[in-house]
């Protein structure tokens, strides 16, 4: 087994551990942490930078020996990254110009090289770049493992992104559900209220109806009383003596007729009052 085979085996072993670790990541911060911790076993670099461009936003992961910086509030991209997004052509060039933030990484004079690749995943455009020098040397044979690393990171990133979206949607659904429940309660309260009002109104109407029926019964009764007397007198009138007719029957007839008239007047007055009451309501 030659040296390169041994190196391969060790690297792949490290990569499988790396894969196992990132599969457990619950959020992007943890993912960045794991990449930072494990990537040094895969290849050397001074700076590893992964810029993920979705249609909505840009997320950038920066790794140096010391730090892992994760940024997703639309950080600005370097000129070479914009170039990569445009032409998608991988490159490797000398990088003496100090374009990087000195607090993140120091560009040395030991043959600094900047590597850049473009990857396309459905609707994701990814720029991966590596800054290396003689102290931390990145070589061509490391590209394959870098590609695997980017693959693994992006797959996980998509999964986490999807999870986040799902959570967001779930939250929205939950809120919508709560709102619906709240509205339902409100609606049933309104319905209950209406029911109570209807019940009260119905009771009121029944009461009024009963009252009117009673009035109408009483009226009919009060009308019939004097009327029946008048009819009674008419019934016997042929059998009365002149004396009886003048001294009693005619007076009774007049009295009953007056009572009938009085009753009818009362009824008219009462009905008018009831009608006025109805009109007022």
């Amino acid at each position: 087994m030659d040296i390169s085979s041994i190196k391969y085996r060790i690297t792949y072993d490290a990569f499988s551990k790396f894969s196992a670790s990132i599969s457990k990541a619950e959020d992007i911060e943890t993912l960045a942490e794991i990449v930072h911790k494990k990537s040094k076993y895969l290849f050397d670099y001074k700076l590893l930078r992964i810029a993920i461009n979705t249609r909505e936003k840009v997320t950038v992961l920066n790794f140096t020996a010391e730090t892992a910086i994760y940024c997703d509030d639309n950080p600005s991209l370097y000129a070479y990254e914009l170039e990569l997004l445009d032409n998608q052509i991988p490159f490797c060039r000398k990088q003496e110009e100090k374009i990087f933030d000195a607090q993140v990484v120091q560009v040395t004079n030991m043959n600094p090289l900047l590597w850049g690749w473009h990857f396309q995943y459905n609707n994701l455009n990814v720029c991966a770049s590596i800054l290396a020098d003689d102290s931390k040397k990145f070589v061509k044979s490391d590209i394959e493992i870098l590609t695997l690393l980017v693959d693994a990171v992006i797959t996980k990133f998509k999964e986490l992104q999807f999870k986040k979206e799902l959570e967001h949607k779930n939250q929205n659904l939950k809120e919508a559900f709560l709102l619906i429940e709240k509205k339902n309660i409100e609606i049933s309260r309104i319905v209950d209220n209406q029911k109570t009002i209807i019940a009260t109104r119905t009771r009121e109407l029944l009461r009024k109806n009963y009252k009117l029926l009673k009035i109408s019964k009483l009226n009919a009764h009060n009308v019939r009383e004097p009327l029946s007397r008048i009819l009674g007198i008419v019934e016997i009138i042929d059998h009365l003596t002149t004396e009886e007719l003048h001294s009693e029957a005619l007076a009774y007839l007049k009295e009953s007729a007056q009572e009938l008239d009085c009753t009818l007047q009362q009824i008219i007055e009462m009905s008018t009052k009831e009608i006025d009451n109805f009109a007022l309501e």
Binding site: H221, R224, E225, S228, R229, L231, G232, I233, E235, I236, H239, L240, E248, A249, Y252, E255, S256
Partner: protein, 132 residues
């Protein structure tokens, strides 16, 4: 049969109980026309009629329902406190079925007549009295 009915008519002592003097006058006249009654007493005060129940011992009472102070129903109830065999015919201007049903609960009530009465109604109540 007809002869016995004629005899019966003439032998009856009758109370007329109605708060309206006119009604009593009419009914008394109708009785006269139909040849009904040996003695006919009319009362516009039902209490007075109750008081005289045991003295006059009427065979038949024509009773109005709708009266102030004590009404026909109260009169029927109070009759239970007197020694009397008098039968009652209710004479009312009420056509209420409830009243008719209520009247049937009293054994002494033998007939129910709607005002105004006429000679035909008088015949009816005599037949009702004879056949009970």
């Amino acid at each position: 049969m007809i002869q016995s009915l004629e005899k019966l008519k003439q032998k009856l002592d009758i109370f007329l109980v109605d708060d309206q003097k006119i009604t009593n006058f009419i009914n008394k006249k109708l009785m006269n026309i139909s040849g009904v009654g040996q003695q006919i007493y009319d009362f516009i005060n039902p209490r007075k009629a109750l008081e005289e129940l045991e003295i006059r011992k009427p065979h038949l009472i024509l009773l109005d329902l709708n009266m102030p102070d004590i009404d026909g129903w109260e009169f029927l109830e109070q009759m239970k406190n007197y020694k009397t065999t008098a039968k009652v015919v209710i004479v009312t201007s009420s056509t209420s079925k409830l009243d008719i049903q209520k009247a049937k609960k009293y054994d002494r009530v033998i007939h129910y007549l709607i005002k105004p009465l006429n000679t035909h109604a008088i015949e009816e109540l005599i037949i009702a009295y004879e056949s009970q």
